[in-house]
Structure formats: C-alpha cells, structure tokens
Symmetry: C2
Subunit: 258 residues, 2 copies
DNA sequence: CGAACTGTTGAGAGGCTTCAAGCCTAGTGG
DNA sequence: CCACTAGGCTTGAAGCCTCTCAACAGTTCG
C-alpha cells in the first residue's frame, strides 16, 4: 500500500512504487499493457474517509468509480427517509457504471463505510475501451448480471423470511463477502443501523435478534465486532430448518452494488 | 395477429402475412433489414397457454426467449416453497438473456400468466449479432440496467413499506405497466396469489387490503377485475401521506424480468 | 360433474415496530 | 489531551400489523 493519511475528502492518493493502481481490479484484467498504462495516466485516485458521500441519488455522473481499498455502501432513500442498502462495493469493485449506458441520473447514493481509496475514470475513457476491447465490454455485462441476480436474491430473502432468518443469513453473507480473522471475527465493522438498513428492519429489532444469538452462543458480541461461533446453527436458522427438509444449497445473499 | 389457437404447449404459431414476427421488439429495432430477415428465418415461434413453464430455476438455457404476446411472470422459489415474483415480461420483452453472458443455470423460473406467443432464439445467433452490430449489444446492456434499477426499487419498496402502501403502489404500477381499458379496469388479470407473491405477503392479507380499498371506494372489485376509482388516493396511500411531506415523484414499481 | 384450486372472511396469536429512556462510544472543539 | 456532545447502542413495555389456521363459497378445468 502507498501513503494512507486520514484526511477529510478527495485527498490525493499516491500508488506505491512498482505497482499500478488498477492492477488488481478484475474488470481491467483483460486490458493490454498499453491500454492499462494509458488508463493509469488519465486517472486520479483519492482517499476518502468514513461517511464521505461519493455520489447522491439524482446526481449526474461523469464517470465510473473504482474502489481500490475500503468499503462503500450503496443505498436508496425511501420516502420515509430510511435508507435501503442495496449493496456494497469493496476492493476491485466498480460503481456508477449504470449511467454509462442509460442517460439517467443516479438512482442510489454511495457512501464510504470504511476509509477507502478510490479512483474516478471518465466515461469517455471507458467508452473508448469498450469500443476497442470486446472482452472488456463483456466483463461489464457480466458485472451487471451478477448484480442483478444478487438484487433479486436479496429481494426474495427480505420479502419472504423472518428477521431471524434474514439476520442469520446475512451474517453468513458477511463472512463470505468480507471474511473473518483468526478469531472468527467478521472483517467488517458495520453499525447496527446499517445492518438493519440492509435487512429491512428496525435497529431495535436487529439488536434483539443479535442479542438473542449471543445468548444462545451462536455468535459473540464484542463491541461492534461480531464473532461467529456456530456456523452450522446460523445456516439452520437462516433456512428455518426446524424440521430438516427442502435444503437448497444456494448462496443466499450475494454481492450487490450500483 | 395471426392464428391463435389455444393448445397446451409449444404449439407452432404462424405470423400474419406482411408482418415479421420481430418487427416490434425494441431490442431488434436497430438491426438492418438483412439481419432481421436472417434472424426471422432461423427462429421458431410458439403458442403457450397459461401455466406453461418456459424454463425452470436450475435449467440450462440454449437461447433467449422473446415474448411477442401475452404476459409471463418471473419468480424465484423460496426455501419455504413460496414464489417470489421478481418481474414480468410482456410484448416485446426478452427473457433468459442472463445465461448469454454468464455460464450459469437459470436463477429464476418463467411461467406463462396469460396465453402467450413467444419465440426462441439460440445463443449462437444472438452472439453473432452482438459481434456484428454494436448498437445491438448496447441495447442489451440497457435492458439490464433498467431491470437492475427495477429490482432495487422493488426491494426498497417491499423492505420498507407496509402492506397497504405496497398494495396501493403496485396497483399504480400495474396501471402504468399494462394500462387500463375504457372503464378503468386494469388490463391484466392476476390471481390474488400472484399479487401476494409479488408483494411479499400472504394471500389473506392481500385480500383484506383490497377489500378495504373496495369499501373505501378507492377501487372496485368485479371478480378478478380491478377498477381503479381514486388514483389520487392510491398515490397518497402508497406514499403514506397522512401528513403531506417528503413527496418524491419517482415511479415506484418498475418493470422487471429475467 | 367432481376435484382441485382460488377467493374470502373470522378468530387468534405473535412477530415486529413504536416509543421512550438510559448507557456507551466516538468524534469534536477548546 | 480531556471534556463534551451527538449519535450509536441497548433494553423494556405496549400494541398494532401481519401471519397462521381454518372453514367455506366460488371458479375453473378435465
């Protein structure tokens, strides 16, 4: 990693030597050496601290954002003022690409959850790449497909499952998505508010469920940290397996972003 | 319209004279005359009656389906066995295009809701077109973008709103999507079960809500038909405007499919 | 015409929210 | 660096909203 100084907003970030900024962004993995170099020259990357809004619902984009480090949440504001988180973007993910294809303002808001490094790539550059490199265009489409499936999955899960099932399922999702450290602590620190905003419930309810899992020795709450103790039981709860039947082994919550 | 005889499954359908099958499918609007003709020669269209399953979750696709007439619902099966409808496809819509880009089996099921005419176009044909015609590829991406937004929208609405709000909002969506006839009857006949399966609630609850709207003279129920009487009130309910504030004029439910 | 499914309504239970109050934590400014 | 403050976290009590279960009427289809 390069120099990472905590400053308020859009602070310039310098890549470590001998390393290109975009070298481990899957989307760019198929670019030729030349294309990648040209791209690198054109972009600016910046350091964003927690709570920075990258873009707002209704804004017009001028390019895509590529997350190089950190975690960003994507949400839509409901009429009530509540946030509905529809996905996360993390290392290697691209956001705001929708406006590249449909000439419409953003339909969601992107906000930094954990201090992040991000770079902005103008649409003109991306368009050029899409035209010159077919595999690149394909990658974009695949991105979208995954997101779409994730979104539908989340929909199904929220619409049809109880808060306990959803919560258990989401903890497992977080484990898959962000991993756990050597003590089985989930490697992402979300507020209870955010957790509730993903799962479509009220903070108080979420806390009660977590607290209940805690008492049942399924998880262990240490401040904001969540330690996963009994993964099997989480699976069972998430699938409502009081009686063991109809077990489909699909990943339930999938990565999503916009 | 050509001959439309009600038969059980995959009955061959013949286009009316002087009319190509695909002439009013938006996706194909940018094809050259030659491309369109070639495509027409290669495809088969068929007549599908209500309840026919076009494809099942888990199946592998060999091509996309293009809906020329009728209405198809797209749903995912929850572990409980309940269906979560994630979208509809109607005249001019394309389904099952996801597998074109990601080599995965279907993540949803498509079932005919109203007798439909549909044609199947093999992936090889589509791939050829995508390679030869850039605007065509672009159209695909735009399709996906719309769907994605719709999915996220639906998610937000289901996760954050009461059954009354959702129901009112969905009636308005149906009006926008399928239109109403001269008597203000919504031009789509869905079972209460399906309605409930879109909105993530139980049939009994949905019926109670509709019945309540009926008594309040907001809608009028005539068998399965729904007549919209007081659109303004539906809007108000859908936005929970007991006190008039924070009114954002967005379309709430959007078209979705897979 | 009968069977199977859909639609409707009621009673009752309980899951989840609302409201409220207090504690705790993190971030700010002096 | 510490005190302060706003916002996050937690818990309780109360009640509504939605679901479950059940029974029956109506409808569709073979």
């Amino acid at each position: 990693m390069g120099t990472l100084i905590h400053k308020k907003k859009f602070k310039r970030y310098n890549a470590p030597e001998n390393e290109t900024l975009l070298h481990n962004v899957p989307l760019f993995s198929e670019l030729t050496r030349d294309e990648l170099c040209n791209l690198e020259l054109a972009i600016q990357s910046s350091l964003l601290s927690k709570r920075t809004i990258i873009y707002h619902e209704g804004m017009r984009h001028t390019g895509i954002y590529c997350i190089l480090e950190g975690i960003v949440k994507i949400y839509m504001q409901a009429a009530s003022g509540k946030q509905q988180i529809v996905g996360f973007a993390t290392k290697g993910d691209i956001i705001a690409y929708r406006s590249l294809f449909v000439n419409e303002p953003a339909c969601s808001t992107a906000e930094v959850m954990q201090d992040s490094v991000m770079c902005h790539i103008s649409y003109s550059h991306i368009t050029r790449l899409i035209k010159s490199n077919k595999t690149f265009a394909y990658h974009f489409i695949q991105l979208m497909c995954k997101e779409l499936e994730g979104s539908n999955s989340l929909l199904k899960n929220i619409a049809q499952r109880s808060v306990r099932e959803r919560t258990a399922g989401f903890l497992l999702f977080l484990k898959d998505q962000f991993g756990v450290d050597e003590r089985n602590h989930i490697r992402v620190s979300m507020t209870r508010i955010d957790l509730a905003n993903v799962l479509g419930m009220v903070t108080a309810t979420l806390i009660r469920v977590l607290s209940d899992f805690n008492k049942s020795n399924i998880i262990n709450l240490i401040g904001k940290e969540i330690e996963l103790i009994d993964i099997d039981k989480l699976h069972a709860i998430s699938r409502n397996l009081i009686n063991i039947d109809s077990v489909k082994d699909d990943v339930i919550f999938r990565k999503k972003m916009t």
